[in-house]
C-alpha cells in the first residue's frame, strides 16, 4: 500500500507500468486474459504446427460459420432472449437458397449475387418469424425457437427428401471456398459483420436500447422505449447472420444436406457465453463473442494436434462453457 504512493510523483516508465498494472481490473478483461492463456497453451501443446499460418487460417475458417451466427446471437442474448433455431434455420435457408439459385439456368454471376441477397433476406425473414412469435405471440424465446428449430429442420428434410440439395451453378462455390488477400471469404465476413455489429451495439440508439431492454424491460418501457420493436429486431439480425452462414456453407460444398449445421446453435451460444455476455441479458460485447468463437476453435485444434480422441472434443467444449459461466458468476460477487 505504501510504496505506490511514490509513483504518483514519479514519471518514470516503470511508474507508468506499475500504474497500468494496478489500474488493470482483471475481472473486466477476463475474456481477453483467457484468450491469451489459451493461445499460449495451444502454442505449447501444438508445437510447432499450431503456429503455422495455414493452421491459424484454418481455425478461423472453421469457427467463422458459427461465429457469424454468434454475432447475431449476441444481440439476441443481450436483449434478454435466445434463439435455438439457428442451426436448423441455416440448413433450411441454405437449401431454399440453392432452390432459388437453380431457378436461373446456366452459370451466371448475377444469379450467384441474387442468391447471396436472397439468402440474407430470407434469413432475416425467418428471424422475423421467430421474433414475432416472441414479441407479438408473447411466447418465451426458449420455447418459441425450440419450436421453430423443429419446424425448420423438418422442412429442409422434406424439401431435400432427407438427402442433398445440389446447386447447378458452378460459380456458386467461389463464394464460400474463395479467398481474398490470403484469408477465406467466411473469415472476412466474420470480421466485417463483427465490426458492423460492434458499432451498432456501442454507438447507436438501437444498441443502447437493447442493453436497456435486456437489463430491465420495465425501466425501458417507462422510458418511452418501444420494447417490442427493440426485442424483435435482434431476431431479424440473427436471421440475417444465419443467411450469411447459410450462403457460405451451402456454396462451399455447392449443396446442402438435410442434416447439415446440426448443433450450430450450441456453438453460437457457447461463443457468446465464453465471450462474457450475460445470459440474463443487459450487457455483453461483440468482441467478446469473436474471442469466444476463436477460443472454441483453438481448443478443438489443440485437441486434434495433441492427438486427443475427436469424441472428447465436445466434452472439452462443454467444460470450457461451464468454466466461462462460473467465471461470470464469480465476477458478480
Amino acid at each position: 500500500m505504501n510504496d505506490n504512493t511514490i509513483t504518483h510523483d514519479n514519471r518514470s516508465l516503470w511508474s507508468l507500468i506499475v500504474r497500468a498494472v494496478k489500474g488493470f481490473r482483471f475481472s473486466e478483461h477476463s475474456t481477453g486474459m483467457a484468450f491469451i492463456i489459451l493461445f499460449l497453451l495451444a502454442i505449447i501443446v501444438g508445437w510447432p504446427n499450431f503456429l503455422r499460418i495455414r493452421n491459424l487460417v484454418n481455425i478461423l475458417r472453421q469457427i467463422s460459420y458459427t461465429g457469424i451466427i454468434g454475432l447475431g446471437m449476441t444481440m439476441v442474448i443481450i436483449s434478454g432472449g435466445i434463439d435455438l433455431s439457428v442451426g436448423s434455420m441455416t440448413a433450411f435457408v441454405g437449401g431454399i437458397t440453392i432452390f432459388f439459385l437453380n431457378l436461373f439456368p446456366g452459370d451466371s454471376h448475377m444469379a450467384v449475387l441474387a442468391a447471396g441477397l436472397f439468402a440474407v433476406l430470407f434469413g432475416a425473414f425467418s428471424g422475423l418469424f421467430n421474433g414475432l412469435l416472441v414479441t407479438k405471440g408473447r411466447i418465451a424465446p426458449f420455447i418459441a425457437t425450440l419450436g421453430t428449430m423443429s419446424i425448420f429442420r423438418s422442412l429442409i428434410q422434406y424439401f431435400s427428401g432427407a438427402g442433398n440439395i445440389l446447386s447447378e451453378n458452378t460459380f456458386y462455390p467461389e463464394v464460400g471456398a474463395g479467398s481474398v488477400l490470403g484469408l477465406p471469404v467466411p473469415v472476412w465476413m466474420f470480421f466485417i459483420i463483427a465490426a458492423i455489429l460492434h458499432i451498432v451495439l456501442n454507438n447507436t440508439r438501437f444498441g443502447r436500447y437493447i442493453c436497456a431492454v435486456g437489463a430491465n424491460e420495465q425501466v425501458a418501457r417507462y422510458s418511452a422505449v418501444q420494447v417490442l420493436k427493440i426485442r424483435l429486431i435482434p431476431y431479424i439480425i440473427t436471421g440475417a447472420t444465419v443467411g450469411v452462414t447459410a450462403l457460405l456453407w451451402s456454396s462451399r460444398l455447392n449443396s446442402i444436406n438435410s442434416s447439415d449445421c446440426i448443433y450450430y446453435e450450441l456453438d453460437a451460444i457457447a461463443a457468446v457465453v465464453i465471450g462474457g455476455t450475460a445470459m440474463t441479458g443487459g450487457k455483453g460485447t461483440v468482441i467478446g463473442t469473436v474471442l469466444g468463437a476463436i477460443m472454441l476453435g483453438m481448443i478443438n485444434n489443440m485437441l486434434v494436434l495433441g492427438g486427443v480422441s475427436s469424441y472428447l472434443q465436445q466434452a472439452a467444449k462443454g467444460l470450457v462453457i461451464i468454466a466461462a459461466v462460473l467465471l461470470q458468476y464469480n465476477k458478480k460477487n
Binding site: N203, A215, N216, Y222, A224, Q226
Partner: protein
C-alpha cells in the same frame, strides 16, 4: 438483561472501512450498540448508512475493520450467517416473492417441517397469522404478495424478520412508505420489541421519527462517523446540522403564486381497469399541483394512464386544448409529458448503465450524429447535469448500482429534464432520500415551475405536498374526492378526503 454502559456492546463495528473500486465509502467507523436499545442511524445521501448496514448483515465484506458480537469478533460472510447470529434486516426495497403467499414468504428458507419431512403448512399458517396480528395487521396469510399494497408488503417483511427471533433487528428506512397510522403501529411494536430485549437499529431520514423512537442516534456524513449522542441530549436542529455539516434553514422554497390561468393538461373522467374509477383534474401552466391520498388510492395509476403505460378504458385527456390519444410512453414524451416513477429501482434507472447512459435514455435521438451516438456531447451534457444537480459521482463511467438513492434519483430526474418536458409528473420524488437531497429536489421542482414547466407532485408525505403545491387534489379508491386550495390546505382536510372520515393525523412528536 441489564447491561452496564461500559460493558461489552451487543454489537460493535470496529474501525470499519469499505472501498468500492478505490472509492472510500466508509472510513474508520466504530459504533457500539447497547443491548435492548433503539439506535438511530442517520445521514445524508451517500453518507454510508446502507453500506454500514450491509456490512453488519454480511452482504458486503469490510475492506478493513471488524464486527463483534458481545465483545467477540465474528466473521459474517453472508446474510445467512448473520441470521444465524440473530441479526435480521428489514430492507428498504422489498425482498418478497410476488407469486408466493404471505405465509410462504414469511417462512421462506426457514420452513417448519413435519416428522415425515414434509412442509407443516398448518403450523406455518397459524404462526404467520399470529405474528401479523401482534403487529396490528390482521392480514390474510393466504393472500399472494402481488395482491398486497406497498404498506402491507412491508408489514410482511417486518414480520418475516421477527419470526426468526432476531436479537438484533435492523430496519432500513421502514417508515418511508407508511401512513401516519401505520407508523404509529410500527412504533408501538418497536417499543414492545424493545421491552422484550430486542436491539433495534433504526435507519431513517426523518428527524422527528428519530427523536421520537430512538434512545441514541449515530450521525454519519461522507462515510465518516460524526457523532453518537443520547437522544435526550440533542435536538432535531442539531442532528440536522451534524448531518449536513452546515446550518439547515428552510426546507421548502417559498410558494409561488401561479402566473397563467391557461390549462395545459386536463383529464376528464378517466377510467382504467378496476383501479381508476373516475378521475378529473386540470393542470395550469407553471403550476405545482399536488396529488395526495393513501397508498393505493390510484394516484400512481392516474399518472401511468396519462403516460400511456396503462390502457385508458374511458375518459378524455386534453393537452393544450387538444384532445389526445396516448398509446404509449413515446406518445406522451412527444407531447412534452414526463413521468418520474415512484419505483426508482424497478422502473426508473438502469443499474448497470453509467450516468450519461441513464440521463440520455429518452432524449438519445438528440445526441445522434449520422446515426451514431456522439459520446462527447453526451458526456458533456451529462457533466452539466451532474454539476447542476450536485450529483456526487466518483466517476461518470461507474454503473448507477454503486450510487446512493439520492444520487440515483437526481440522475433519474436529469433524464426527464433532458427531454425538455412542458409537463412533469413526479411520483414520490423524494422517497428514500435524505433531507439535504430532498431540499435540493424541492428547489429544483420550484425552479422548473418558474421556467414555466407544469409539475404534478404525487406524494404520501403530507408535509411535502403541503409545502410544495399551490393546489392539491386528494384521491381515494380510484376517485378524486376533493380539490384543496389556499387556506383549505390543512392536514385534517386532506385526511378527511383521503379516508372519508374525520381522521386523526400522525404527529411525529
Amino acid at each position: 438483561m441489564k447491561e452496564t454502559q461500559s460493558g461489552p456492546y451487543v454489537l460493535e463495528t470496529q474501525h470499519i472501512t469499505k472501498e468500492f473500486s478505490g472509492v472510500r465509502v466508509l472510513d474508520d467507523i466504530t459504533v457500539g450498540i447497547r443491548s435492548g436499545e433503539i439506535m438511530g442511524l442517520i445521514g445524508e445521501n451517500g453518507a454510508g448508512k446502507s453500506t454500514l448496514i450491509k456490512i453488519i448483515c454480511g452482504i458486503y465484506q469490510p475492506t478493513s475493520g471488524s464486527v463483534s458480537l458481545e465483545g467477540t469478533p465474528v466473521e459474517i460472510n453472508d446474510y445467512i450467517k448473520a441470521k444465524r447470529l440473530g441479526i435480521a434486516l428489514v430492507p428498504q426495497e422489498f425482498n418478497l416473492i410476488n407469486t408466493l403467499t404471505v405465509w410462504e414468504n414469511m417462512f421462506l428458507g426457514n420452513e417448519i417441517i413435519t416428522a415425515t419431512r414434509l412442509l407443516n403448512k398448518k403450523q406455518m399458517r397459524s404462526r404467520a397469522g399470529k405474528q401479523l396480528e401482534e403487529l396490528g395487521m390482521p392480514l390474510d396469510v393466504n393472500l399472494k404478495i402481488s395482491d398486497l399494497s406497498v404498506a402491507e408488503k412491508q408489514q410482511v417483511e417486518i414480520s418475516k424478520a421477527l419470526l426468526l427471533n432476531a436479537g438484533i433487528l435492523i430496519m432500513d428506512e421502514p417508515t418511508t412508505t407508511l401512513t401516519g397510522h401505520e407508523i404509529r403501529t410500527l412504533f408501538t411494536l418497536m417499543r414492545r420489541l424493545k421491552a422484550q430485549g430486542v436491539t433495534i437499529i433504526f435507519v431513517s431520514h426523518k428527524l422527528g421519527e428519530i427523536k421520537t423512537i430512538c434512545d441514541r442516534v449515530t450521525v454519519l456524513r461522507d462515510g465518516k462517523l460524526i457523532s453518537i449522542d443520547e437522544i435526550a441530549d440533542i435536538n432535531e436542529h442539531d442532528i440536522a446540522r451534524k448531518m449536513i455539516g452546515r446550518d439547515f434553514t428552510q426546507v421548502f422554497p417559498k410558494k409561488k403564486v401561479r402566473t397563467g390561468d391557461d390549462i395545459i393538461l386536463s383529464a376528464e373522467h378517466l377510467v382504467s381497469g378496476r383501479v381508476l374509477k373516475d378521475v378529473s383534474f386540470d393542470l395550469r401552466r407553471g403550476e405545482i399541483l399536488g396529488f395526495a391520498g393513501l397508498v393505493g388510492s390510484g394516484r400512481t395509476e392516474t399518472a401511468e394512464t396519462i403516460m400511456g403505460l396503462r390502457p385508458l378504458s374511458a375518459g378524455r385527456v386534453t393537452v393544450n386544448g387538444k384532445s389526445v390519444h396516448i398509446q404509449n410512453a413515446r406518445d406522451a414524451v412527444d407531447l412534452g409529458i414526463g413521468y418520474l416513477s415512484e419505483d426508482r429501482q424497478g422502473k426508473g434507472i438502469v443499474q448497470d448503465f453509467d450516468i450519461p447512459q441513464n440521463i440520455t435514455m429518452i432524449s438519445l435521438k438528440r445526441y445522434l450524429k449520422n446515426f451514431l451516438i456522439d459520446k462527447g456531447t453526451e458526456l458533456e451534457k451529462s457533466s452539466e447535469y451532474v454539476r447542476k444537480f450536485n450529483i456526487v459521482a466518483a466517476s461518470m463511467k461507474m454503473g448507477l448500482r454503486f450510487f446512493s438513492g439520492g444520487n440515483q434519483q437526481k440522475v433519474y430526474l436529469a433524464r426527464w429534464v433532458d427531454t425538455n418536458p412542458s409537463i412533469l409528473i413526479l411520483d414520490e420524488p423524494t422517497r428514500g432520500i435524505d433531507v439535504n437531497a430532498k431540499k435540493e429536489i424541492y428547489d429544483f421542482i420550484h425552479s422548473l415551475a418558474e421556467q414555466g414547466i407544469s409539475c404534478i407532485v404525487i406524494s404520501s408525505e403530507m408535509e411535502e405536498v403541503m409545502g410544495l403545491c399551490s393546489r392539491i387534489y386528494v384521491m381515494k379508491e380510484g376517485r378524486v374526492t376533493g380539490c384543496l386550495e389556499g387556506d383549505r390546505i390543512t392536514e385534517e382536510e386532506i385526511m378527511f378526503h383521503a379516508t372519508g372520515i374525520q381522521g386523526e393525523v400522525f404527529d411525529e412528536r
